[in-house]
Structures are given as structure tokens and as C-alpha cells.
Amino acid sequence: MSLIRVENLEKIYNDGETKTPALCGVSFDIESGEFVAIMGPSGSGKSTLLHILGFLDESTGGNYFFDNKTIKEYSLTEIAGIRNKKMGFVFQSFNLLPRTTVLENVKLPLIYSEIKESLWEEMALKAIEQVGLLSRKDYETSQLSGGEKQRVAIARALVNDPQVIFADEPTGNLDSKSGQVVMSLIQKLNNQGHTIILITHETYTAESAKRIIKLKDGKIESDKLVLNSHFVDEEFIK
């Protein structure tokens, strides 16, 4: 079975009197190692879908299997464990801790893991090295540019070597040059075997993925492989 299987997924937001459907029967499979971009205009349900896939929210109908089990079959502690070890998150607004160094930020997922403390430093430094920010490891996050902040967030997402990395509009707050650096990093991670699920509304960014699922009004409009996915120039990473 696939790493991620979604069957007829539904999500209706119930705000007292008004019911707002966000997802109306979405089905797809994602295999381990894939790089999928989920595209769509705002309000199409793509963020809702990502939240459900990342165990940050529950669906109101249909089934979502992660590693052959639905969210209901995991206990709350197990869910926290999965988010910690098997999933990594990159957000549009970085969500780094202020007044804290790059190193401490990247270490953050490790403190909630069962990994021995003596290994944390080494693991965090390795992740920081992968995003090319070793020289900035002792900087506080407020001293970094937007692109650098997002690279710290990527380092934080991959420090636990997760199976899947969820990226929610990772380039949304960045200029095109920084965005390209971030995208090339994400591509590199995919090449190393991480499954990537990317949310974006920019076609150019989406086309760096290998498969694009387009959503509209809570339904899948198209689900296509990208024939000529472009590789972002690695020259940007310095």
C-alpha cells in the first residue's frame, strides 16, 4: 500500500450555523519518494488538505491512511510521535522561535524525540549544513533574511530525517531569488529520498515537482505528472 492514501476525503467546517465545505470527496495515493505539488486558487481547500495529511486536523468524512493506518487508529501520543519522527513541516511564515539561535531552532524537534541528547548537536549541525547555513548557526533568527529563515525552517523539518516533508507555500513570503534557493533545497531533499508534498499557487514553483494535483472548490480538477519538471539552479545556494 502507498505511504499516503486518501479516499473520498471530506472536510466541512461547522461554524455554528453555517457549514462551509472545504473538501468534497478527494482521493489519491502518494508513494514514498514522490514530489507532489498541490495547486489551486485560495479557498480551493489545499491548505485544509495539507493540514489533514499532516495530522494537524481531522477530516469529517472519507479515509486517510498514513502508513496503512487512519488517524483514528493512532493515539494522541502516537500522532505527536509521527509528527515528530515521520513528518517535517515548512510553513509560509517560517514559524521560528524569536530570540533563539539557528542551532536551537533546528534542535527543537529533537527535544520532543527519544533521541539521546548527546546526538542532538551533531544532528542539528548536519541539517544546518545541508541548507548551507553553517556559518550562521549562532545567529539569532531575527538577524537572518527571509530566505535564510526559510532555510532554517527546512533544516528544522529535516533534522529528524522524516519520511515526508510538508511545505505550505514555502516561497510565498520570499523574493524570487530566495524562493529559487528554497525550491532547489526541497528538490535536493526529494532526490535524497524524502517524500515532498508542496502547496503552492504559483505554476512555476509547482513545476519543480514531479506531479501536480490541482484542486478547485474542494475537488480534484486534475492529477498529472510533470513531464519536464525544471531543476532549480544550485548555483543560488552559497
Binding site: 494537524l56 486536523d57 509528527r83 510553513f91 514559524n95 522561535l97 524537534p109 527535544i111 541528547e117
Partner: protein, 414 residues
């Protein structure tokens, strides 16, 4: 999640809002420091009073007319009790009745002022036997001498005055032989006591001592004694002497049952117990008042923690997204409030000790050198414990609010 990082996460929250954290703990600081201050002053006060009671000697016993006070009615009865008269005094002085008795004096307080050449002064006028001050407190006149047993028998109008009385009434010159007026009657000064400060519950410096017979018959016009002061030959003899006194007085008054006793006997140890009880009750009372400020401080902590939880909603969302369990978040915020209150407690303890020290400096000047600066060790532990407990109780609600946040909602929070 390891303990070090729980603390690190909690300290991170406090560090971000340093000045706010400081203001938040003020309530706790004030509460704890007042508790320390009250307990310290309470203990010092108790030890001062006790040390004064102890100067009367462990062989000191007091006999009062009226029954042992057990209720309000007894108290009123005691005011009019006149069961101890000359007959009782004579009976107790009889070596056959009370063999362990060493000294005995009636004690009568005469309300009123004294005057000398138009000046008036309010001393404590007390009627005693001739050299009771010497026997009890080892204080002897620096000028003149004590009155004699003859003076007592003949109801002489003579007086011994304390040093402050002398300084207030007589600017300079001769004091011995001068006559002062007590209740319009003239008394000749035959002795002046040296300055001796506060001894026991008496300030000898402000005293005018006259023969007890003069006080009783000439000034007060009564036939009973307000109090008898006794000394046993040593401490071990006190219980037996008390029994002898009881038997003698019951025999004299024809009393069969101890419940009908028309007198009460207080040994020094009873006084100590009573004083301890009073100071303890007072300390508990005042500490409870101070404890209210801790509750107010606790509410302040809760308030600020709730603000902090709301402000840091995104941080909570992020922590959950990267693997924190609800329990991790709960513990983080709980530790944060406990660190706040324990920190407040520690500052409060330091302040409380400093205030107690300052208070002791002031009180030494007011009550004399016998005021000790006592740090109450139990108060320190109690203070820290209570502070931590306040943090736990008032931190629980905000921490629960934080733990219950859904990660998705929290991450979307603006």
C-alpha cells in the same frame, strides 16, 4: 522530553518578557516578604516576652483571687474577686502550711498620677514588700534605701522611685527626702532606683514603689489583695508548693472540690505557655492576612500566563506540529508559572529577611537591647513551598488552555 529542555522552554518564555515577568511576580514578592517579616517579628517578640518572664525566675508563682478564668463570666467575676486578704497571706506565710515558700509579697497597682510642685507624671504606682525589687530583679537603690518592715506595719507614706520618674520630676538637686503627692497624699522619697530598662513585664524606671499596706488601705481603701507574688526555694519545689497553697487556701475557705476554687495559681511555666499561645495565635492571624496577598499575586500570575498563552499561540502550534504532545505543552507552561512564583518567593524571602533586620534595628531602639533578630527557618521553607504551590494552582488553568490548542488553529492564529 528531558527535564533540562522543559526548563529551557519555560525560561525562554520568561526571558522574552523580562519586565513583564518581573512585574508579575511583585504580588508574590510582597506576600512572601510580609509572611517572613511577620513570622520573624512574631518569633522575636515571643522570645523577648519569654526572656522577660524568665527573668522573674523559674521559681516564681502568682496567686490571684477569683476562679481560674475559663470563660467571659469568670473574667467579670475575677474583677470583683476579693478572696485573698490578710488572713490568706498569713496562712501562706506559715511555714507549716507552705514549707517550700521562700518569699511572698502582695502586689497592688494604684491607678493615678503623681505630682511635685505643680508638675504631674503618670508612673506605675505599685505596692510591694520592702525589698521585693532586690529579691526578684536584683535591683537596689542607687540613692537612699528600701523601706522597712516597720514602714509596712505602720502604713508609712514613703516611696522609692525609678530613674525616669526622677528625671521627669526633679530637674536637679536633692531628691531623697522630697515629698511627692499621690492621690492628694504626700509621700516622702526615700530611695531612687538606677536606670534598668525593661525588666520582665515591668519598666522599673517608670515605677513608684510604696509599702503594700499603704497602697491597700491608705490609697485604695480595700481589704483584699489584687495579687500575691511568691517564690519557691527552687524550681523543683514549685509543683509541691502550688499543691500546698491549694490545700491551705481550700482549707481556709472550706472548699471541697477544686471546681469551687475562689483563687487561681499561675506558675512561670503557665505564663510561658500562655504567652506562646497568644503570640502563636497572633502570628497565625497576621500570616493569614499576608497570605491573602499571595492569592492576589496568584491571580496576577494566572492573568499574565493567560495573556502569554494567547500571545504565543503560534509557538504552541509550531511545537505541536513538530512533535510536542499536549502534556509537553502543559508541563512547559506550568513550569513557567512555577518558576515565576518560586522566583518571586526567593526575592520575597530575601526582602523579608532584610525588612526583618531593619525592623529589628528599629525595635532594639524602642524596646531596648533585648530585641533579637530571629530568622524563622520554617518560614523560609513555608514561603518557598507556598509560592511554588500558588504557581501550580494558578498556572494550571492557563497551561491547560495552552495544551488544548489545536495545532492547526494555533498555526493559523494571527
Amino acid at each position: 522530553m528531558n527535564v533540562k529542555y522543559i526548563f529551557k522552554a519555560a525560561l525562554f518564555g520568561l526571558k522574552i518578557n523580562k519586565s513583564r515577568s518581573f512585574l508579575t511576580i511583585l504580588g508574590i514578592v510582597i506576600g512572601i516578604s510580609s509572611i517572613i517579616l511577620i513570622m520573624s517579628i512574631g518569633q522575636s517578640g515571643e522570645s523577648l516576652i519569654l526572656s522577660q518572664v524568665e527573668t522573674m525566675g523559674s521559681n516564681f508563682v502568682q496567686v490571684n483571687p477569683g476562679k481560674q478564668i475559663k470563660g467571659p463570666q469568670d473574667m467579670i467575676d475575677t474583677l470583683f474577686a476579693d478572696s485573698i486578704k490578710d488572713r490568706e497571706l498569713k496562712a501562706l506565710q506559715n511555714k507549716n502550711n507552705v514549707p517550700d515558700l521562700m518569699d511572698i509579697t502582695p502586689s497592688l497597682i494604684v491607678p493615678g498620677n503623681i505630682s511635685y510642685q505643680g508638675d504631674t507624671y503618670k508612673p506605675t504606682i505599685i505596692g510591694w514588700t520592702a525589698d521585693w525589687v532586690g529579691k526578684l530583679f536584683d535591683v537596689y537603690p542607687e540613692e537612699g534605701e528600701f523601706f522597712t518592715d516597720d514602714d509596712i506595719k505602720s502604713l508609712s507614706s514613703v516611696a522609692i522611685i525609678g530613674s525616669e520618674v526622677k528625671d521627669e520630676m526633679f530637674a536637679s538637686g536633692r531628691v531623697i527626702g522630697e515629698k511627692i503627692k499621690i492621690k492628694d497624699k504626700l509621700f516622702k522619697i526615700i530611695g531612687v532606683l538606677p536606670p534598668s530598662g525593661q525588666i520582665s513585664m515591668f519598666s522599673l524606671d517608670k515605677m513608684v514603689i510604696i509599702p503594700y499596706t499603704t497602697a491597700q488601705k491608705y490609697l485604695l481603701g480595700i481589704d483584699y489583695y489584687q495579687e500575691l507574688h511568691l517564690r519557691a526555694k527552687d524550681e523543683e519545689a514549685v509543683p509541691k508548693m502550688i499543691e500546698d497553697i491549694k490545700i491551705t487556701l481550700r482549707d481556709l475557705h472550706g472548699i471541697d472540690s477544686p471546681e469551687d476554687d475562689d483563687f487561681s495559681i499561675t506558675a512561670q511555666s503557665d505564663m510561658i505557655d500562655r504567652i506562646k499561645l497568644i503570640t502563636n495565635v497572633l502570628t497565625i492571624l497576621l500570616t493569614s492576612v499576608a497570605a491573602i496577598s499571595l492569592v492576589v499575586g496568584g491571580v496576577g500570575i494566572m492573568n499574565i500566563m493567560l495573556v502569554s498563552v494567547t500571545e504565543r499561540t503560534r509557538e504552541i502550534g509550531l511545537r505541536k506540529a513538530i512533535g510536542a504532545t499536549s502534556k509537553n505543552i502543559l508541563v512547559q507552561f506550568l513550569i513557567e508559572s512555577i518558576i515565576l512564583t518560586v522566583l518571586g518567593g526567593a526575592v520575597g524571602i530575601v526582602l523579608g529577611i532584610s525588612f526583618s533586620y531593619l525592623a529589628s534595628l528599629v525595635l532594639v531602639r524602642i524596646v531596648g537591647a533585648s530585641w533579637d533578630f530571629i530568622i524563622s527557618l520554617p518560614a523560609i521553607f513555608l514561603g518557598l513551598g507556598v509560592a511554588g504551590f500558588v504557581g501550580l494552582i494558578f498556572g494550571l488553568y492557563p497551561a491547560k488552555q495552552a495544551a488544548q490548542k489545536s495545532p492547526m488553529e494555533a498555526l493559523r492564529y494571527e
